[in-house]
Symmetry: C2
Subunit: 125 residues, 2 copies
Amino acid sequence: MSRTPLHPTREQIELPIVLDCLSDPIRLAIVYQLARQERFSSELRCGDFSGLSRKSNLAYHFAKLRECGVMQMRVAGTNRFLRLRREDLAARFPGLLDAVINSAAKDADRLQLLSGCVRSTRTEA
Amino acid sequence: MSRTPLHPTREQIELPIVLDCLSDPIRLAIVYQLARQERFSSELRCGDFSGLSRKSNLAYHFAKLRECGVMQMRVAGTNRFLRLRREDLAARFPGLLDAVINSAAKDADRLQLLSGCVRSTRTEA
């Protein structure tokens, strides 16, 4: 079984909402860790972020990132797979995602971006 | 007489706070108009933005932009002069300010960035 929760279309992605969404340190950490793992795999599982915060809190942040168009969530059975919507963001706001990720990387310690760092690179569904 | 309100030092500028500050459409419009006028003058006066919103509302947004480190405010007599803190932002978060401004420019109509557009380019104190 596969079902996909609601995502905005590319055209529905709005700059103020994206900036607001990325202004939360835990959501910045999720985006940073997704970007950091892209060289190994395009997707990560929700469970891979369990070191960042409580499960219910993470579910809230995943939903915010999905609803603002930064992240794609794919449901397969009991797993939820996450990836950045790079192409859509690049089309709407060229250079923005990398500028935010690189800015966050400069402050990785200060922002505690690697607390509960993702160790898994599994993508099997 | 000249007095300068409190500004964060370069090192005190924090990414989540900057992103949160820029997630407001009126503040995006202020930043966009400041950037747009940079070729004519480095500073604009608070009164130049009177088409954007009410005076008290603008004062609130100017304070937010100053306190997060995006904008420098200089007081001279009864005038307040505003400019972007380009060097400080470029040092802390390379590429971020331009990525946000260029992204906003793409959606200038949708975000109503040019409502009450600045016409003045005066900088005399």
